[in-house]
């Protein structure tokens, strides 16, 4: 055994920590939030985080040991579906770029779900070219004064805090003039409006910022370093969207297969061949994910991760499209167009029509499929990059 593995925590030790937590805070007799806070303080929130910040510096792979032990004991969880942005994007960014004060202030209520987070990156004029963003922050003493508009913000209507990238210097090329902040969503001048989407719901919002003051103490990273900080966030976003272990027929293909099995009267030969092609593609994509996990476990991550989200988007759209066709006359109907503001992202909804419409977003959110293809072509295959006409021009002189 190497010295490193002597000092690293083992699964057995983790089980002991869990047993101690359960003994001291019986989930049956403890308030939900009190239990979650105790779990955080015991280092069992995210075991790969540092000691004192909800973790034990343990290997990330051991998290599943904790999760399954606690689930078995009937312990409450932190409803991860409602706080995905906080867990997947804000937390790793705060951990990497925050001060000790930031980490101590934000991570605990973020993890317990007491404070919901949202992400204010995209703007009406800055989508795939995020680095061209125009929401301005002007220094005023120890504060920054912010004006502009952000868009495609899920959870903005439930969030207490946001991570936000702002233009702090318009006189330098676009990548060099941004800074990254934490924004109090209750601050004066922050206005959240629902953005209704093609499903009829408003899962996303527009966020208008008018003379909003952000203390400079809420900056993550150096002034002008916003792009590097944002890249950390986005890297974690793509992992979060494409990841996750699935059994065979897990995900969207399972719905389609179930409809096929349950409704013999809807079957047709042309649909059958398409069904089987998609079944095979879904199985292939599942095995790519499995192979990726095996590579990570063996400590040799491959480039497969870059493809997972692209494959997922293409597949979901094709599967849900076929499902609508398969439904025949029922495919002409839709569950409900009532405007709602859901608290969680839902790819499945009530019917095939919803799945078909929602899946349109899969190839846009978190990096469009076109941008992902560029990333694969340039970073994985090593193809020459596109000439960048805006690279050395000050942001304020760019055409828009």
């Amino acid at each position: 055994m190497t010295k490193q593995s002597d000092t690293e925590i083992t699964a057995e030790q983790l089980r002991e920590h869990v047993a101690t937590l359960l003994a001291e805070h019986d989930p049956a007799r403890t308030d939900r939030l009190d239990f979650l806070r105790a779990r955080f303080d015991a280092g069992l929130a995210w075991v790969h985080f540092p000691v004192g910040l909800g973790g034990l510096d343990a290997p990330r792979a051991l998290q599943s040991v904790v999760d399954s032990e606690l689930a078995r004991a009937g312990a409450p969880d932190n409803q991860p579906r409602k706080i995905g942005i906080g867990l997947g994007m804000a937390a790793p960014t705060i951990l990497a770029f925050g001060t000790e004060e930031h980490k101590a202030r934000f991570l605990r209520p973020l993890w317990t779900g007491e404070e919901v987070w949202c992400q204010l990156f995209s703007e009406p004029g800055a989508g795939s070219d995020l680095a061209s963003l125009a929401t301005r922050a002007v220094r005023d003493g120890s504060d920054w004064i912010v004006n502009g508009q952000k868009v495609w913000t899920s959870s903005a209507h439930t969030a207490s805090w946001a991570i936000i990238v702002l233009r702090t210097d318009p006189d330098v090329p676009k990548h060099e003039g941004m800074s990254y902040f934490v924004l109090d969503m209750t601050a004066p001048g922050v206005e959240v409006r629902p953005l209704r989407q093609i499903t009829g719901e408003a899962e996303f919002n527009e966020v208008f910022l008018t003379d909003v003051r952000i203390p400079d103490s809420q900056r993550l990273g150096e002034i002008g370093q916003g792009w590097q900080v944002a890249r950390t966030t986005l890297m974690n976003e793509r992992v979060a969207i494409g990841g996750g272990a699935l059994p065979r027929e897990g995900g969207m293909i399972g719905r389609l297969a179930e409809q096929w099995r349950n409704n013999p009267e809807l079957r047709a030969p042309d649909l059958h061949d398409r069904l089987m092609r998609l079944w095979v593609s879904a199985e292939a994509t599942r095995l790519v994910g499995e192979r990726l996990r095996q590579q990570l476990a063996a400590g040799v991550p491959g480039p497969e991760g870059s493809g997972a989200k692209l494959a997922f988007a293409t597949l979901n759209q094709a599967i849900s499209g076929l499902e609508v066709e398969l439904m025949g006359e029922q495919g002409l109907h839709y569950s409900d167009w009532t405007m709602r503001r859901p608290e969680t992202v839902d790819f499945f909804g009530k019917d095939a029509g919803y799945r078909y419409l929602r899946a349109k977003g899969n190839s846009i959110e978190g990096g469009t499929s076109e941008v992902l293809r560029n990333v694969i072509a340039e970073r994985v295959l090593g193809l020459p990059s596109e000439p960048r006409v805006d690279k050395d021009i000050p942001w304020k002189d760019l055409p828009r």
Partner: protein, 371 residues
């Protein structure tokens, strides 16, 4: 179900390195074309080195049966490498189809032949059209007459022109039978094949006598195992073909300039290559899964094979077609080796069951029946 190792083991990596080394010296795609032009369709000296010196002919045959005692996972790695260099060697016909047919057959006749095939001292051909898939009925083209003689004609038999022994599925009075027949007892007529690097031939038997290897269900099972294993291993060959096509195309579009830029900097080409890359990583995952599952004789081996063959056959064709198109004019020439890969990929798509046939099999296995 998910316990299959989808990565390559150290042993498999080492094996790949040895084979690639040998192939890079003796089987560059441009040599393949030149040698073919000189009237030599197979690289028999290369095959001797691979089969005898490296032992690839008996990799998945147990040591007590004269092989290397490895698994089909390793045989699949060889198939990838041979696909990557479109090597004209009788690996599919002899090593994959014939040894797999014999592996489960009891009796000394089968054992002796298996040992010779595994050692590379004999070369076999399985007398069934290369298009036969694992889902098909037992063939009736060859019949056993009352005196025990074999009669009939079978076309498109893979690697038959260089075989010394034929394994013949034949219909006897009581049903399926399996025979070993010396190639010298048959009339073997090589056909002009679409695939320039893998031969097919017509085999005519008119009363030849052979050694009976199996009868009844055992004979049918031997044939089915051979075709199913063949379909699994072919998926790895298709992966190797596709990988060569992608690598070569990426190399070409990175150095070819038009409009003052490398053409690989245009998104129209980049996106096609990114999509192809995605297909290839998927093909790798399903091909590895199939090789592992069939090698372990796992419960879902048939699902894994049908999935792999349905997927990889089309990826190889797509990769070869993209390779030609993205090479522009040069890709259409006889001189450039891209056409060898297209011809192999397109022929492989028909081999051992079309993708659509495998999808039909799959639909029954996973309870998604047709109308």
């Amino acid at each position: 179900m998910t316990s299959a190792n989808l990565l390559y083991t150290d042993v498999e990596d080492d094996l790949r390195a040895s084979v690639r080394d040998l192939l890079s010296t003796h089987c560059d795609p441009t040599d393949v074309l030149a040698t073919r032009e000189s009237g030599q369709p197979y690289f028999l000296e290369l095959w001797r080195k691979l089969a005898v010196e490296l032992g690839v002919a008996g990799l998945h045959v147990p040591e007590r049966q004269g092989g290397q005692g490895g698994t089909l996972r390793e045989t699949a790695v060889i198939a990838e490498e041979l696909g990557r260099s479109v090597a004209p060697v009788p690996f599919l016909g002899s090593t994959v189809l014939c040894t797999s047919a014999l592996l489960g057959v009891p009796g000394s006749a089968a054992a002796t032949l298996l040992e010779r095939l595994a050692a590379g001292t004999a070369t076999g051909a399985l007398v069934a059209p290369l298009t036969s898939g694992p889902a098909g009925e037992f063939p009736t083209a060859i019949r056993v007459s009352a005196d025990g003689g074999l009669h009939g004609t079978v076309s498109s038999v893979v690697d038959a022109a260089v075989a010394d022994t034929l394994i013949v599925p034949a219909l006897g009075a009581a049903g399926p039978e399996l025979y070993a027949v010396p190639a010298s007892a048959a009339t073997i007529t090589p056909s002009t094949a679409l695939d320039l690097t893998r031969g097919i031939a017509e085999i005519a038997l008119s009363g030849a006598s052979g050694e009976q290897l199996a009868t009844g269900a055992a004979a049918a099972e031997a044939l089915n195992t051979a075709l199913r294993t063949g379909a699994a291993i072919l998926a790895s060959e298709q992966l190797g073909i596709a990988q060569w096509c992608l690598d070569e195309t990426v190399r070409y579009v990175s150095q070819r300039h038009q409009f003052g830029r490398p053409i690989g900097s245009f998104q129209a080409l980049k996106h096609r290559l990114a999509d192809l890359w995605l297909e290839i990583i998927s093909a790798r995952a399903v091909a590895r899964y199939a090789a592992d599952r069939i090698g372990a004789d796992a419960e879902d081996a048939s699902i894994a094979v049908a999935t792999a063959q349905s997927y990889c056959a089309e990826v190889a064709v797509h990769a070869a077609e993209e390779c030609i198109q993205l090479h522009g004019g040069i890709g259409m020439t006889w001189e450039h080796p891209a056409h060898l890969f297209l011809k192999r990929a397109k022929s492989d798509q028909l081999a051992l069951g079309r993708p659509g046939e495998h999808r039909r099999t799959l639909s029954e296995l996973v309870d998604l029946p047709t109308c």
